[in-house]
Symmetry: none
Subunit: 272 residues, 2 copies
């Protein structure tokens, strides 16, 4: 459907195009849904506005996320199709470093998809993948989609849950249950970004290596030091700064209206 176009390394957006293609390549196996492809497109647009780089505010959230996961008693990484397709190795490494469990949790849920995701993660070395099939014997009644079914050994028990690329209803329900929620979401205005305790506004393929690195660095810190990192972080303020960054980038462009020089020439020709 999308042609396997060769991506030139010189292309100004080569990295983003590569990520896109790696996502799309997982549609056939059922790991990624069309809704997932769409959501990725939305993320791309926000990444464009952020300048396609990990901002300072994202770095601050990543550090806090690492400390939060290390402090947790029962941390869980909630995995959906897109995240499994984009950073399969990263999920496993992060789980290893932080001692987190991995649980599959899907909006568009079928046993086939759950198993496809489990297989993908196992291919990359995952030893235990929760949330597949009959294992989801517990229910979160506050969630009005198939995501309500969770694994009693995983999300139900968890105190801290990393839910990258999440839908808003679920984040809201998890927060209301008293869970601490960390998310990675490129849209600082999304309901997930708004409801989470720690919102990393960044692209997951960039975030995961940084989050793993930060977790390794902080792993031997004292509990007190980790708590200090968490308590000095203000998610609300961090989100505000992120939105302001996007805004400032747009401000410059707003002054011009049409910013492509050649396109501007055409206006001038007609202004006579």
């Amino acid at each position: 459907m999308v042609k396997k176009t060769e991506i030139s390394l010189n292309h100004p957006r080569a990295k983003s195009l590569k990520t896109r293609h790696s996502l799309v390549s997982h549609v056939k196996s059922g790991v990624v849904t069309l809704a997932g492809v769409l959501a990725h497109g939305r993320g791309e647009a926000f990444d464009y506005l952020l300048g396609e780089k990990t901002t300072e505010t994202a770095h601050a959230a990543i550090k806090t996320a690492a400390a939060t996961m290390l402090l947790a008693e029962h941390p869980v990484i909630s995995v959906n199709g897109n995240i499994a397709a984009l950073v399969p190795e990263g999920i496993i490494k992060l789980a290893e470093v932080t001692g987190a469990k991995i649980e599959v949790n899907l909006f568009h849920r079928t046993l086939h998809r759950e198993e496809a995701i489990k297989q993908l993660l196992e291919k990359y070395g995952a030893k235990e993948v929760l949330g597949v099939g009959e294992a989801c014997s517990a229910e979160i009644p506050e969630i009005c989609s198939e995501r309500r079914n969770v694994d009693p050994k995983g999300i139900l028990l968890a105190d801290v849950i990393l839910v990258p690329l999440e839908d808003g209803d679920r984040t809201e329900a998890l927060r209301k249950m008293g869970k601490t929620v960390i998310t990675v979401d490129l849209n600082p205005l999304s309901r997930t970004a708004q409801w989470a305790n720690v919102t990393i506004v960044d692209e997951v393929a960039r975030t995961f290596p940084l989050l793993i690195e930060e977790s390794k660095l902080l792993k031997n810190q004292t509990k007190k030091n980790l708590q200090n990192i968490v308590s000095s972080f203000d998610n609300k303020k961090n989100l505000a700064t992120t939105i302001e960054q996007i805004n400032q980038r747009l401000s410059g462009l707003a002054k011009q209206g049409v910013y492509i020089p050649e396109a501007n020439e055409l206006y001038k020709e007609h202004e006579t």
Copy 2:
């Protein structure tokens, strides 16, 4: 691939989710490509920034677009997969009111897709659909993709072309050929938005009913009145205002960081 998940009417973004699902439902028949699904996601991101509503600047562009189409001698609506999937009925109604021809013009072109789109439009009552198969015997050499092939009875002859959800290269080429180009594009920074004569920064499912309504209202106006509407519209200024509106909205949100009242309550609880 995507299950017909029930979208609760209470969901705060039900309208957007419904539009998304209607797009995705057309992938199987070949009307919509994966690239089209991704592009829709990008559009959703900009709709977030606009507040998911038709702005005053969009209304001004819609009025001008209606007047421009009514003044045209040979108006044409250029149809791709996404627009056919999202507003099949709207395309036909608008063509009827403005006397425009309908031409299929695709970036990812196959005879199968052209025919799937033609069939979809005919199902909704289209009597003539140009640009399918052998009908595209003319060429626009300036366009370096399969979109260069056009119908001599349609786009080649046209003085005014409505190209919703268009790619930048083509808009640029059409402008350079001296055509008047109207577009509907949620991204005011896109090359299409930048190159078009009249840029409606809005979501097509919201725009089309308004554009049809406006065309009906203006249909009996004198040529002079219509010309006044067109000449008093400044696309560059309108684009600048649109970007400025996004800017102001983000400014307000940046001050808050978290703008969902209930999510904000949770922060307050923890601030004690």
